[in-house]
């Protein structure tokens, strides 16, 4: 087994979040970051529909459809939690009060552009809060597999899909590496166990440079 599993990716992303941070987790894979908070650290999770202090999924018998997350799944409220309306919730996002958001992505460019809302096909378009998070969170990080299901690179010199935000991504966590968009290339900060730089070069559409500490 080489590379990180989905849970290991989430855990790797969680280790980079500071104690006391206000964190927004995107729908899907990023939600797993909540399961991997390092011992001794406390994050306050924000949910765009109006929750600070969001807790884990409840037991089935305790589900309350008036207490759901952005993905519309039942959640809980932890001690210290609060509810607020949608305009306040997005004031937190747009106003730069959210320290970290972790988003999924279809594509990320070496310049820090992200595409995660439209596949450019004829389907019904949907954007939700992705563009607000991309524009407003103090640090935008991406958690995604390094390539698509068909093996195509997701990390590219330029986006091919419609952008969610431009020059906003600080860091990308994949199943193979941790990378930083650095303009005309991605800088590799960390490699998953058993992964060599050659594999990252082969599976990344943009130039990559080994930036790991010697």
């Amino acid at each position: 087994m080489t590379g990180w599993t989905l849970d290991q990716m989430a855990a790797r992303a969680a280790t980079d979040i500071a104690n006391g941070a206000f964190v927004n987790l995107g729908i899907g894979l990023p939600e797993r970051v909540a399961d991997h908070v390092p011992v001794g650290r406390e994050f306050i999770l924000h949910s765009e529909n109006g929750i600070l202090g969001m807790g884990p999924r409840p037991a089935v018998d305790d589900e309350d459809m008036e207490l759901i997350n952005a993905g519309k799944k039942p959640v809980t409220l932890i001690a210290g939690g609060a509810f607020f309306h949608h305009a306040d919730s997005f004031a937190m996002i747009r106003g730069g009060h959210i320290d970290v958001c972790i988003l999924g992505a279809f594509e990320v460019s070496s310049g820090g552009d992200i595409a995660n809302w439209s596949t450019g096909n004829d389907g019904v378009p949907a954007v939700g809060g992705a563009m607000d998070l991309a524009a407003g969170a103090r640090s935008v990080r991406v958690l995604t597999t390094h390539t698509t299901k068909n093996g195509k690179p997701k990390l590219l010199p330029r986006l091919t899909l419609p952008a969610t935000g431009l020059r906003v991504v600080d860091r990308v966590y994949t199943n193979l590496a941790v990378l930083e968009p650095a303009g005309d290339h991605f800088q590799v900060l960390d490699l998953a166990p058993g992964i060599a730089m050659e594999e990252i070069v082969a599976k990344t559409g943009a130039t990559v440079i080994d930036g790991r500490p010697a």
Partner: protein
């Protein structure tokens, strides 16, 4: 004596005109004023512009209003869901107009509508397809997009409790769009589980003050959208 409590949903719906812009609260299955939307269907207004975060679930509430052919245009942020087949099918054949708006921009456009601010600049969506055709200005070396306010002729929202003046409290994350929509419509109708005697709601906890509310309807046991979904054979909510 001021008494905004309507006898029933029919009374609350009187006078809603064809072509109205209707703000409908709710996010996913939380905070949807399903009984009010059904009353709007019975009332018969057509050619509506509806503002809601989503595009309806299953075949009740907003989905049923769309299915009944009453909605000309939907302004929303996230129409796609595992239960949005009514909207999806109509949209694919060009039977309904869609204005897609980033969620925070949607909330702020409604807030601005209620606050007397005709337009504002936001960094959200700058440089993307959703900013196409909109005025752009630089503030602090960053591109911002001009967005205009949304005002409703009617707002339909759901809250937990009200008094006869129309003060409202909400429950958990069902609050979502309720307070901003209440402020942004000429007439806001709230359905609530409980009516409290005037003075019984703690003034420190009232979220929507009475000034934003025109009608209140008591619906003690509102329908659960989730409970209605498995019956449609489309699985559980995503």
């Amino acid at each position: 004596m001021i008494n905004k409590i309507a006898r029933d949903v029919e009374e609350a719906m009187e006078g809603i005109a064809d072509g109205s812009t209707v703000l409908i609260g709710g996010f996913g299955e939380a905070g949807n004023p399903t009984e009010l939307v059904h009353a709007l269907i019975d009332q018969g207004a057509r050619d509506l512009v509806v503002v809601n975060n989503n595009a309806g679930n299953g075949e009740i509430g907003l989905a049923r209003l769309i299915q009944a052919g009453r909605v000309r245009k939907l302004i929303c942020s996230f129409p796609r869901s595992s239960h949005s087949h009514v909207f999806d099918d109509l949209y694919r054949v060009g039977g309904i107009e869609l204005e897609l708006v980033p969620q925070g921009t949607l909330a702020e456009r409604i807030r601005a509508g209620g606050a007397g601010i005709p337009a504002f600049f936001t960094p959200t969506a700058a440089g993307t397809d959703l900013a196409a055709g909109k005025e752009v200005r630089m503030f602090g070396e960053r591109e911002h997009v001009m967005e205009t306010a949304i005002q409703g002729d009617i707002a339909l929202i759901k809250a937990e409790a009200a008094d006869r003046w129309g003060n409202l409290i909400y429950r958990k994350a069902a609050r979502n769009f309720g307070p901003v929509m209440a402020s942004a419509a000429k007439k806001t109708i709230a359905q609530v589980r409980r009516i409290m005697p005037l003075g019984e709601l703690d003034p420190e906890t009232i979220v929507t003050p009475s000034i934003f509310i025109q009608n209140v309807v008591a619906i003690p046991n509102p329908v659960s959208e989730r409970d209605s979904l498995p019956a449609l054979g489309r699985g559980v909510a995503a």
